[in-house]
């Protein structure tokens, strides 16, 4: 049995205004305050396409290696639902703004079928007493529909693909792709045999995608093992019960009565425009990763983490401008900085690149210990004191003279005769313990390397 997964991703584009009217495109806010006759589907209104959204769609198409269609048409998709004010959604069907394309993942490529431009529906809010309220602020926001071929072979691949897709779109700066805010939504088709497949809806997080697909594959395999057939149906993932259940069967599928939107002329794009947009495409995550590995000799894993968000990658390179030591800077960024924040929010910590550079440099040059460096980072973040100031203080208090350290070493050796004994018998590993104890006495204000040297000197004397 071969598992085939196809994904359909809806991405809300971040634009100044909505897709077909001049209302602001923003998330949330007081319900029904960013509406007009057009997005409310009042009688007599006509749509005016948002060129910014069209350009952003083209940008995504180019970045995903799709063929940009110089000529495409808008289509009406007809169905009744309260969140759809006109009784139809303006989308594309038959001809899309972009066709084909691919995204590389570790195990190969995920191929795309098409990319459509369409309009977002209103948001339904379900109240406790069973009412449904409608917020039309969301209605009419430009939406990209990205459809893959059913070429994904496992839930793991699906998640990896989605992460990479999301990363690319975020790099392009055309959408925040915040899944919690519904800006990046996933539906899926799953089949484990040639006959029958299910459409899976309500996959609201990458975790839901993974778990939902895993469950659905298992369910379908069990059905087949029982000798039964997979019905063609739409199923809903229930995140709480961790199961999928039937939403509607094939016979209940809606007939959308698609036909070309008569209110809009075909969408025509000039080759000049496409070329111009091509030049605006920034370095994409996978390209950046390759560069980091080649240029900075980083290992793949570290490079992967650093490029996960454009903001983080840029930050990393900015630090390098002040201190060109990619290995240590990457280590500090990944293990220390990311302990405090998510990759996309690194800058929100309020630490300037030059200060981080100074911190790493100071540690490397033994002006402060790594532990003190970590302490400084922590204090700088929590107390909003500049790193440079904290380093200066620490440098002053650091014990440089051998005599103070020597007396501490003497104390430690006297207090731990058994450990010393072990060392003499050849258990050299206990040296670390002795260094640690000495550092503790010195409240970390010494260079551990210097401490080690002095302990060794003392022990040699003793033996």
């Amino acid at each position: 049995m071969e598992t085939k997964i196809g994904l359909e991703i809806h991405v809300e584009l971040s634009t100044e205004t909505k897709m077909f009217c001049p209302c602001k495109n923003e998330y949330g806010g007081e319900p029904n305050t960013r509406i007009c006759p057009v997005c409310m589907g009042e009688p007599g209104i006509l749509p005016s396409p948002n060129f910014e959204a069209v350009k952003k769609a083209v940008k995504v198409g180019i970045a995903l290696n799709s063929k940009i269609n110089r000529f495409s048409i808008f289509t009406r998709k007809n169905y009744f639902y309260p969140d759809l004010p006109k009784g139809y959604q303006i989308t594309q069907y038959g001809t899309s703004i972009a066709e084909g394309g691919s995204v590389n993942i570790k195990s190969g490529s995920v191929y795309l079928e098409r990319i459509n431009i369409e309009e977002e529906t209103a948001k339904s809010i379900y109240t406790e007493n069973g009412e449904v309220l409608l917020d039309f602020n969301r209605c009419g926001i430009p939406l990209l529909e990205i459809v893959t071929l059913p070429c994904i072979k496992s839930p793991e691949e699906a998640v990896e693909f989605l992460k990479e897709l999301r990363r690319i779109i975020r790099y392009l700066g055309v959408s925040e792709c915040d899944m919690e805010k519904g800006m990046f939504r996933v539906d899926s088709n799953v089949s484990v045999s040639k006959e029958g497949r299910a459409e899976l809806k309500n996959l609201n997080s990458l975790k839901a995608v993974y778990e939902g697909l895993l469950y659905e594959i298992k369910r379908q395999k069990e059905v087949i093992e029982k000798g039964e057939k997979i019905r063609r149906e739409t199923r809903l993932w229930d995140e709480f019960k961790k199961e999928t259940r039937v939403m509607r069967v094939k016979e209940e599928e809606l007939d959308y009565r698609y036909f070309p939107e008569p209110d809009l002329p075909p969408l025509e794009l000039s080759t000049e425009l496409i070329e111009k947009i091509k030049k605006e495409i920034p370095e994409l995550p996978y390209q950046k990763k390759q560069r980091f590995v080649k240029l900075y000799f980083l290992d793949e894993k570290d490079a992967e983490i650093l490029v996960s968000e454009k903001e983080l990658a840029d930050y990393f390179e900015e630090i390098l401008k002040f201190y060109k030591n990619p290995e240590d800077v990457s280590s500090w960024v990944i293990t220390e900085l990311l302990a405090y924040t998510e990759p996309e929010n690194t800058r929100k910590l309020g630490l300037s690149a030059s200060e981080i550079a100074q911190l790493v440099k100071s540690v490397n040059e033994n002006k402060i210990t790594r532990n003190i460096g970590k302490e400084i980072l922590k204090r700088s973040i929590s107390e909003k004191i500049p790193i440079s100031e904290l380093i200066k203080k620490e440098e002053k208090s650091i014990i440089k003279g051998d005599d103070i350290i020597e007396s501490a070493v003497k104390e430690v050796i006297e207090e731990n005769p058994d450990v010393v004994e072990k060392y003499i018998k050849g258990k050299k590993g206990v040296l670390g313990f002795l260094i640690g104890q000495t550092m503790k006495k010195l409240k970390g204000r010494a260079d551990p390397k210097q401490v080690g040297k002095l302990i060794l000197k003392k022990l040699e004397k003793n033996s």
């Binding site: 006759p37 409310m40 589907g41 009042e42 009688p43 007599g44 209104i45 006509l46 749509p47 005016s48 396409p49 009406r76 007809n78 009744f80 309260p82 004010p85 006109k86 009784g87 139809y88 409608l134 007939d255 959308y256 009565r257 698609y258 036909f259 008569p262 209110d263 809009l264 002329p265």
Partner: protein
């Protein structure tokens, strides 16, 4: 006040001379409507207070010798499917009862900028679907020229209001003849511009690819005046053309006129055919124009093609009337019941018939067979028109194969009623401009209309010919 029926330029002249003030005209007009429209029913709503208020503002413009617009103080009636801000817009449908327009249609904005006075909203066939103005939630309209007869439709209220002298000009909308046919039935001038000339923003859509707003007036010159004002590119309507405004050519042109004689052999009433024949032959002779017999084979597909395409578009355009956000709502136990009850009760029988037919033509599995096929036939019709326009400058037909008929006569037989549009729908399917001008009356006293069609965007020459024909007909048959 006998000045009520003046054409635009004479009316404005009288204002300028100080013969009377806009408010005086409006007041007597409203008095007249109140008195006489109960027998005609051409208005759904008369803007009594608003119109007088606005007229009083215009009075001051005259007194202060301020700059005035080209429709200064001209009372205009607006079909009830064109939005006028803050006024109820019903489209003569129960489903829009209580819907107050939140904005002005682009055409209304343009009229107001020229100092026109909106006198009220006129009756119509529900959502523009009909040819007799019998399908209206506000009741049927009576032909002001003959009691008990229909005024035509769907802009029956607008045509009747002009024929009755309730307004100087009116706006209608024409999807398959809805401006031209009622104009013909009421003995006035009705014009459908090239598709894309006039913004549809604020016109409640029936069939987006065919709808076009057009003027109904007492003469050709007024039609031109209104057309020039409402035409032009509109940011809000992406199907409008960004082209220079048309001009009536001043030089003499030896026009070639096409007349599809064969087409008239079937189904056209003898009296109408004879009248057109007579006028054309004599007119052409007097002007030394060329009259050519042409063929229009694709015309016979026009009615079914028209109903498939407009039905399909209407089924989608009218989906927004769902009882959720505005207009009528009948409550139900669950969502689907709200839809079924609201739409089932809110739409009239003819509208339901077209929605069902149009939805059917779009169903998967039938789409190719109906909608796509109809679109192919539609391009054939346009092609045939364009071929003919290589040979002739205009094509002339009767506007309708028969004159106004009795109320109730055809209402039970939709097919018969659909056939009254046989000469008009092709202009909508091809997007070409077409005008209907009166050419006398039948023995029974019912007006006869002549339709003149021209190439897309060729309105300038179309009006030149129409003015000449109007002149010729008036001299011959009087008014």
């Amino acid at each position: 006040m006998k000045e009520l029926n003046l054409p635009v330029h004479l009316l404005i002249e009288k204002y300028k001379k100080g013969d009377f003030l806009p408010s005086q005209l409006i007041e007597s007009l409203i008095k007249k409507i109140k008195e006489k429209d109960k027998h005609i029913n051409s208005f759904i709503k008369v803007f009594e207070n608003q119109a007088i208020e606005r007229a009083k503002i215009l009075d001051k413009k005259i007194k202060n010798k301020e700059k005035t617009g080209s429709l200064f103080g001209v009372p205009v009636a607006i079909k009830d499917n064109i939005l006028v801000k803050d006024a109820e817009t019903t489209c003569a449908s129960k489903i829009l009862k209580g819907y107050i327009a939140t904005y002005n249609a682009t055409v209304v904005e343009k009229l107001l900028l020229e100092d026109a006075i909106i006198i009220g909203k006129t009756n119509m066939d529900e959502f523009g679907m009909g040819s007799s103005n019998e399908f209206s939630s506000s009741g049927p309209v009576h032909n002001p020229l003959k009691k008990g007869y229909v005024p035509g439709g769907s802009s029956g209220g607008s045509a009747a209001a002009i024929a009755a002298g309730f307004a100087t000009c009116a706006l209608g909308s024409d999807t398959g003849g809805s401006v031209r046919q009622p104009a013909a039935f009421c003995g006035v001038v009705g014009f459908k511009p090239t598709y894309g000339r006039v913004s549809r923003y604020g016109l409640v859509a029936f069939a987006s690819s065919c709808d076009q707003i057009g003027p109904i007036t007492i003469n050709v010159m007024d039609s031109w005046t209104i057309f020039r004002i409402i035409a032009g590119f509109d940011e809000k309507d992406k199907t409008t053309f960004d082209v220079p405004a048309p001009e009536i050519p001043e030089e003499e042109i030896k026009f070639r006129i096409g007349f599809p004689e064969k087409l008239l052999e079937q189904g056209v009433e003898e009296e109408i055919k004879a009248r057109l024949d007579e006028i054309l032959r004599e007119f052409v002779k007097s002007k030394n124009y060329e009259l050519k017999n042409i063929e229009m084979r694709s015309f016979r597909y026009a009615i079914p093609v028209y109903h498939i395409i407009t039905g399909a578009e209407a089924s989608s355009n009218l989906a927004r009337f769902d009882g959720i956000r505005y207009g009528l709502r009948l409550e139900g136990k669950y969502l689907e019941e709200v839809y079924k009850k609201t739409r089932g009760y809110g739409f009239g029988e003819e509208v339901l018939r077209r929605i069902i037919m149009g939805g059917f033509a779009l169903r998967s599995g039938y789409y190719e067979e109906y909608y796509i096929k109809a679109q192919k036939a539609r391009s054939m019709i346009l092609e045939e028109f364009m071929d003919n326009f290589e040979k002739v400058d205009f094509i002339i037909t009767p506007t309708s194969p028969f004159p106004a008929f009795k109320i109730g006569e055809k209402v039970e037989d939709p097919i018969k009623l659909y056939l009254s549009d046989i000469f008009t729908v092709s202009a909508n399917l091809s997007g070409i401009p077409a005008i209907s001008i009166p050419c006398g009356k039948t023995g029974e006293g019912l007006p006869i209309g002549m339709q003149i069609m021209a190439k897309p965007l060729d309105e300038g020459r179309l009006f030149k010919l129409s003015l000449q024909l109007e002149d010729f007909i008036k001299q011959r048959y009087g008014n």
